[in-house]
Point group: C2
Chain length 319, copies 2
Amino acid sequence: VVRSTLAERLLSGDLRALARLATHVENDDAIGRASLATLYSNTGKAHVIGVTGPPGAGKSTLVNVLIGEYRARGQRVGVVAVDPSSPLTGGATLGDRIRMQDRHADAGVFIRSMASRGRPGGLAPASAGVVHLLDAAGFEIILVETVGVGQDEVEIARRAHTTLLVQVPGLGDSVQTIKAGILEVGDVLVVNKYDRAGGDELVRDLLHMLSLAPRPESAWRVPVVRVSATAGEGVPRLVEHLDAHHAYLTRSGELRTREERIASAEITALIRAELERRISDAQTGQSEFRAMAEEVAARRLSPHEGARQLLDRLAASRA
Amino acid sequence: VVRSTLAERLLSGDLRALARLATHVENDDAIGRASLATLYSNTGKAHVIGVTGPPGAGKSTLVNVLIGEYRARGQRVGVVAVDPSSPLTGGATLGDRIRMQDRHADAGVFIRSMASRGRPGGLAPASAGVVHLLDAAGFEIILVETVGVGQDEVEIARRAHTTLLVQVPGLGDSVQTIKAGILEVGDVLVVNKYDRAGGDELVRDLLHMLSLAPRPESAWRVPVVRVSATAGEGVPRLVEHLDAHHAYLTRSGELRTREERIASAEITALIRAELERRISDAQTGQSEFRAMAEEVAARRLSPHEGARQLLDRLAASRA
């Protein structure tokens, strides 16, 4: 009996193979790398949507109702939830486990959460890899949910065809979040819990800020969508806006530009991760690195010269 | 007439040459690199003291009175103040300018402030370079002042022979700062503004925390020193503790271990900065990088394969 590889099983729709491969990709091990190399040519079909916004904006609830809406339309949905909690907590949040229970009988939904801290090179390479797996496994919609607090998280959300920025009335930090330039990355803005006090004012402020920051390079007009995720209000209209953005990207040729930007970012992240790995190996491997540090400490070699010599060796080393 | 190089002028005590070289080092340009390579063998004589602590702890005032105390003892003092403000503000803070005015007639004092944001690879390589310049210029005491909020700042303060951690009563975040593990990097703890409400309690808490975190690898007993920087109280005793730590390091052989740790950290930071520069060059140089991103976006090449090919070329490129 010839046993199928995990990659083959993933392509035939086996979600357990997908889950196992996601772990290999997260661990960046040999099976994960080989599978991604095999599967990558099967990707490029999904609509990847980044969902970001400040803590407390209700992103998880929104993602949950978006899953329901897309499922009602017959589309399969993959979710990568980047959890900023410590790796010590085990990665999956309570909210995530609840969502998993809600959906676990539905083969049209796959949710994966990843902890963002404590990884050399950040989470970007691993989350991109899991997106590729979901894409290859035939999920038509992939939601990448991040807490928009760190630069890393915002960057991950940007690596999407469509970035959905969630705001909510009454958060003290929402204006600060907007100031930090996050507004500029949103293709679709959502005012969640719009019926709270300050909802109309927030919509007006966002429209005003958008009018101040025109995007001459794009004909897409960023919509501000009122949603109440808990009540399910505004969600069908939000999905229509997301679909419209994808149609716009395809029609205008911007989809290819974005794909290239995403590819650039992913290549850069992979290079960084690989270099960090080599630096870390060199440090823990000790011998060479320590000998160099001793020479520098003894003033027999300058730090720049030491760095240059080690860099040449790091560069020559192979993964 | 043969004109002296900036490095030669620095060695002969020319502080204007030192100031100009510091700018070259901050800019990481050819003159800065060549000068550091020349001057590095003249370093290794200064006592480098990192000063860190939360905003509001009175670090700048403390540094100012430390300068006065060391000057009264006949020692020359260099200061590198890492200012976390935006590079847009121009780097030098108001406090720094006031201190500069206080001291500008004194050739035994040299103060340099650097903005920490907006630098590829962080500030660590540049601040280490300026420390080397001050060391080569014969400053016996070098104070590296950082705001202990970001990991980067704490890391810079750690790259010292002696790390002085400043705490102050009544700051809501002081316990949090301590929790964050910063306590572990302090060789000498200062309770500044000790006569404020909560001062004795803070001293007691710090001593308690120190008793919970013994350092079996070191015979140095971390002192907690009560200081009122504005009143000048406790400062002579603080300098005695700092001198005692340096004497301890020398006597025990720990000085060499620390020098090697500092050298390792500096080499690593330089490697990272150089690699970031090459990645950035490759991205802005466009041709190769863009062609690769296009191949990846078109699914003709996997991101890992693209990264591997580019990494080989980056590694082969020379500074």
